[in-house]
C-alpha cells in the first residue's frame, strides 16, 4: 500500500487557476522521491498537501491511509509527515535549540521525560549533539536547517518533505543536509525532496516533474533526464552526468545514460581501463600547464587597463575592542562549530586582503558562508570603512569623502535578495529612488527608468504603476536590479544574484549580465556559490577563506587544486571534477583543467579510440 496517495487531486488558491490540476501519484513507503519543476509549477502546493496544510478541492489525498481532507485526521497526518522549508530562519520558533526541537512533540503532548530523550535522539540524527543549549541565532544557515530537520524528526514522523531546503545553503551545508537525508532514508524514512538542483535529483530513486500543476514526467532519474528537450521546455536543466553521457553517445561512445556522477565515472573508468593500460608517456602531465600556455598566447583581457577597485592590505572587523572582550568572556568557542562554517567568535571579518579589479573585467568571488564576501562588497563601494588598510576606486582613495560619494554612484551594488529592499508604492517610484537621491532632473529620471527597465527586459509602461509587491519573484528581482541600473553605474557588484531562481530564470539572468558587459562595457563583480557559473563567466576568481585571501587567478588556475578547495568548503566545476576523478583512477586526458563539457566528451572519445587502436 502506498504511503502517500494522490488521486486526481485538484487545488486552487483563488478559484480561477489550478495550482494542482489533477495530480495522481502513489509513493511507496521507504522511497526517496524528488520533485522538480519551474517557479510556480505547484511543487510547494503539492508538498503542503502531503502535510495536510492544504486539502484538495477535488479528488483525494491519502497519507498513511488517512484522508487529509477529514478534519479529524489533520493532526495525525501532520505528526507523521514532517516538513522542512526553504528559509532556515523562517522555521525556528524558539531562541534556544532544545526548545525549538521540542516544539513539535510538545504540541503532541509528549510527557516531559520522554521529550528530553526525543530531543537528544533527534539532534544526534542530524549530527548536532551537544548543541542543546546554544542560541539558535548563532548558527550558520546549514546548521539552522539541520535544527529544522531535527525539530521534525523529534515528532518521529514516517515521511519527511523538504521544500527546497538546501536552496539557501553553501555547498558544504548542502552536502551535509543531503547526507543526513540519505542516512534517514536508509533507516526507512520516506523522503520527498523538492529542489532546483538537478544534481540532488540524481540521488533519488524516483523523479517527478511538475508543470503548471500537472505531472509532466515521472520515473527513475535516468528515465527522466533522458528527455532533455522536454526538460528544457519545462524550465529545467539536466544534470552534468546526463549531459556528459549524452555528449559521449553522440560521439559514438557506447555508454549507458547516467544521472548520477559516481556511476558514470565508474562506467567510464571500466571502459577506459578495459581499453588498455595507460601508456606511460601520457601520464603526469599537469592539466593546467596546458591551459595557461593557451591563455598566454592571447594577452589577458585588460592587462593594461586601469584598476577600477583596488584593495591594499585591507582588514575589517565589525566589533570595536570593548565588545570583543565582553564576548570572549561570555561565549567559549567550541571546536565543533568550526566544522560547519566560520566560528562566530572570530574577530576579523576580513584580514589583510590585497587585490584589484580591472576595468571591463568579469570578476568572481567565492568562499564558504561567513568568509566575508558580503563584507568585501560593502567595502568596495565605501559603505563600510576598512579598519586598517585602504580601498581605492579608479585609483583614488575611498577615505576621501567626495571619492566615496562618487564611487557609491559609479559602482552599483545589488545585494543578496535585492527584492527584499523594494518599498515604494509603484515600480516607477522604486526604480526612480536612486536617481532622485542623486538629484537628477525629471527628464533624466524618466529616461533612466526606461533604459533600466529595457536593460532588464521588463515592460516600462505596463509595469509602471503596479505595486512591486504584486509582481512575481523573478520580476521583483529584475525591478530591484533596474533600480541599481537606473543610477547608470559603470560597474556592477552583485551578491549571489541568482539564489532561489529556477534554472531557466537563472540562465536568463546570467545572460543579462554577460550582455551588460559585452554591449555596455560594464565591469562586473559577482559573488556566487556555484562553481560552474563562476568558471563559465569569469575572467578571474578570488577565493576567500575565513576572511583571508585563499587564491586569486584565472578559473583554470583556481580550479586546478580540487582537494585544497574542498578543504575550504568549496568545490570545482563538474567538468574539472570529472577530469580529476579520472586522473585519480590513472586516466589522464589530453585537455586542460577547465574544459567545456563538449571538449571533455571529445577528449574521452579520442582517448578511447586511441586505446582501441593501440590494442
Amino acid at each position: 500500500m502506498p504511503i502517500i496517495d494522490f488521486e486526481n487531486a485538484r487545488f486552487s488558491y483563488d478559484g480561477k487557476r489550478d495550482a494542482l490540476d489533477g495530480v495522481t501519484i502513489a509513493i511507496e513507503a521507504g522511497s526517496f522521491v524528488c520533485v522538480l519543476g519551474g517557479n510556480g509549477s505547484g511543487k510547494s502546493t503539492l508538498a503542503k498537501h502531503v502535510n495536510a496544510l492544504l486539502a484538495p478541492d477535488a479528488g483525494c489525498v491519502r497519507v498513511l491511509d488517512c484522508d487529509t481532507s477529514e478534519p479529524d485526521n489533520v493532526f495525525f497526518v501532520r505528526s507523521n509527515a514532517g516538513m522542512v522549508f526553504q528559509n532556515p530562519d523562517d522555521q525556528i520558533v524558539a531562541s534556544v535549540i532544545e526548545n525549538d526541537v521540542a516544539f513539535g512533540p510538545e504540541n503532541l503532548g509528549v510527557p516531559a521525560d520522554e521529550l528530553r530523550d526525543r530531543v537528544e535522539a533527534a539532534l544526534a540524527q542530524v549530527g548536532l549533539q551537544g548543541f542543546e543549549k546554544k542560541q539558535t541565532e548563532t548558527l550558520s544557515g546549514g546548521q539552522k536547517q539541520r535544527v529544522a530537520v531535527a525539530g521534525v524528526l523529534a515528532m518521529e514522523p514516517q515521511i519527511l518533505v523538504l521544500d527546497e531546503a538546501s536552496a539557501m545553503l553553501d555547498p558544504r551545508g548542502r552536502t551535509g543536509l543531503l547526507r543526513v537525508c540519505r542516512e534517514l532514508n536508509d533507516k526507512g524514512l520516506t523522503i520527498v525532496l523538492i529542489t532546483h538542483f538537478m544534481e540532488e535529483a540524481a540521488l533519488a530513486d524516483r523523479v517527478i516533474v511538475l508543470d503548471r500543476g500537472q505531472i509532466a514526467l515521472d520515473g527513475t532519474p535516468e528515465e527522466v533526464f533522458l528527455q532533455a528537450e522536454r526538460l528544457a521546455a519545462l524550465a529545467l536543466d539536466i544534470p552534468f552526468a546526463t549531459r556528459l553521457s549524452q555528449e559521449l553517445r553522440q560521439r559514438g561512445v557506447s555508454i549507458g545514460m547516467h544521472a548520477d556522477e559516481a556511476s558514470l565515472e565508474e562506467e567510464l573508468v571500466s571502459l577506459l581501463e578495459g581499453a588498455g593500460e595507460t601508456p606511460p608517456s601520457l601520464v603526469a602531465r599537469k592539466p593546467h600547464d596546458i591551459d595557461t600556455s593557451v591563455r598566454e598566447a592571447e594577452p589577458p583581457a585588460g592587462e593594461t587597463s586601469p584598476h577600477l577597485i583596488e584593495f591594499k592590505n585591507v582588514s575589517f572587523t565589525y566589533e570595536p575592542r570593548s565588545q570583543k572582550q565582553h564576548r570572549e568572556s561570555s561565549v567559549a568557542p567550541s571546536g565543533k562549530q568550526a566544522d560547519w562554517g566560520r566560528a562566530p567568535s572570530e574577530y576579523w571579518a576580513l584580514r589583510d586582503l590585497s587585490f584589484s579589479v580591472r576595468v571591463g573585467e568579469f570578476f568572481g568571488i567565492a568562499g564558504h558562508t561567513g568568509s566575508g564576501k558580503s563584507t568585501l562588497i560593502q567595502l568596495a563601494n565605501g559603505l563600510l570603512k576598512p579598519t586598517t588598510g585602504s580601498v581605492f576606486a579608479n585609483g583614488r582613495p575611498l577615505s576621501d569623502k567626495s571619492v566615496a560619494t562618487e564611487a557609491r554612484r559609479d559602482i552599483g551594488v545589488v545585494f543578496q535578495y535585492p527584492e527584499h529592499q523594494l518599498f515604494a508604492a509603484t515600480v516607477f517610484d522604486d526604480v526612480a529612488f536612486g536617481p532622485r537621491n542623486l538629484g537628477y532632473s525629471t527628464a533624466q529620471i524618466e529616461e533612466g527608468y526606461r533604459r533600466a527597465m529595457e536593460l532588464v527586459h521588463l515592460d516600462p509602461d505596463g509595469l509602471r504603476d503596479r505595486s512591486p509587491f504584486s509582481l512575481s519573484g523573478g520580476q521583483q528581482r529584475r525591478v530591484a536590479f533596474a533600480g541599481v541600473l537606473a543610477m547608470k553605474p559603470s560597474a556592477l557588484v552583485l551578491d549571489e544574484p541568482v539564489a532561489g531562481l529556477d534554472p531557466k530564470s537563472k540562465r536568463q539572468f546570467l545572460e543579462l549580465l554577460t550582455e551588460l558587459r559585452r554591449d555596455h562595457g560594464m565591469t562586473i563583480v559577482i559573488v556566487s556559490h556555484n562553481m560552474d557559473d563562476l568558471a563559465e563567466l569569469c575572467d578571474r576568481i578570488l577565493v576567500l577563506n575565513e576572511g583571508k585571501l585563499f587564491a586569486l587567478g584565472e578559473p583554470a588556475l583556481i580550479f586546478s587544486d580540487e582537494s585544497a578547495l574542498k578543504a575550504v568548503g568549496l568545490g570545482v566545476p563538474h567538468t574539472a571534477h570529472m577530469v580529476n576523478r579520472l586522473a585519480a583512477s590513472g586516466i589522464s586526458l589530453p585537455i586542460g583543467a577547465m574544459p567545456s563539457i563538449e571538449d571533455l566528451a571529445e577528449a574521452i572519445a579520442e582517448t578511447l579510440a586511441a586505446r582501441h587502436l593501440e590494442r
Partner: protein, 197 residues
C-alpha cells in the same frame, strides 16, 4: 499505526483566538516594534533626551489589519519587552497607556469604515487621543513616581508635553498610513499574486 496515537490526534483542536498565521504576524510586528523602540530618533538635536519613539507604528498597522485586540496585544507585548530589557517598569506603564490611547480609536474607526477616509479620520482622532492621554499620564505619573510637583508638571504641558506629543502623534500617524498602504497588498494578497519563493 497505533490507534491510540490516532485517537489522541483526533481530539486536537486549535484553541487559539487567532489563526497561527495572524499570531505569527503579530509576533513579528512586535519584534519590529521592539527594534524600533531602541532606535529612538531625536526630534530636536539640542534636546536629545526627548526621543521620538516610533514603536507604535507596527501595533497601529496591526490594529488596521486585524483589529483592535491584536493591535493592543502587540503594543503591550512590545512595551513589556522594552520594560523588561531596560528595567524601567514605570516607562512601560506609560507606554501601555499611550499605545492603547493611540491604537483603539484608529482601529475602531477603520473597522467600521474601511476606506482611505476612514483611516484618515481614525488617525486624526488617534493623534488627539494620544495627546490627551499623554498629558493626563504625565500629570499622574510624574508627581507620583518622579516626585515632580503637580503644578510644575501642569506648567510644562503647554510649552513641552503638548508640542512634543503632537509631533510624535503626527509622525506616527503619517508613517502608519504610508506603511499600511504600501504593504496592504501583502496582508490580503491580490488574486494573481505569485508567491511561494
Amino acid at each position: 499505526m497505533s490507534t491510540s496515537a490516532q485517537n489522541q490526534s483526533t481530539q486536537i483542536k486549535n484553541t487559539n483566538r487567532w489563526s497561527t498565521k495572524q499570531l505569527v504576524t503579530m509576533a513579528l510586528m512586535c519584534a519590529i516594534a521592539i527594534l524600533l523602540s531602541f532606535l529612538e530618533f531625536p526630534i530636536f538635536p539640542a534636546a536629545s533626551f526627548l526621543k521620538l519613539d516610533i514603536s507604535f507604528v507596527p501595533s497601529a498597522v496591526m490594529g488596521f489589519a486585524y483589529g483592535t485586540g491584536p493591535g493592543i496585544l502587540v503594543g503591550i507585548a512590545c512595551a513589556v519587552a522594552h520594560g523588561a530589557i531596560t528595567g524601567n517598569w514605570v516607562g512601560c506603564l506609560m507606554n501601555i497607556i499611550a499605545c492603547c490611547a493611540f491604537i483603539i480609536p484608529a482601529a475602531a474607526v477603520y473597522k467600521r469604515n474601511r476606506t482611505f477616509k476612514g483611516a484618515m479620520i481614525g488617525l486624526v482622532i488617534s493623534i488627539v487621543s494620544l495627546v490627551v492621554a499623554a498629558c493626563i499620564a504625565n500629570l499622574i505619573v510624574d508627581p507620583l513616581f518622579y516626585g515632580m510637583p503637580f503644578d510644575v508638571v501642569a506648567g510644562l504641558i503647554v510649552p513641552a508635553i503638548l508640542p512634543f506629543n503632537i509631533i510624535k502623534g503626527i509622525v506616527i500617524a503619517v508613517l502608519t498610513g504610508i506603511v499600511y498602504k504600501s504593504i496592504s497588498n501583502l496582508i490580503t494578497p491580490a488574486k494573481d499574486q505569485v508567491k511561494g519563493r
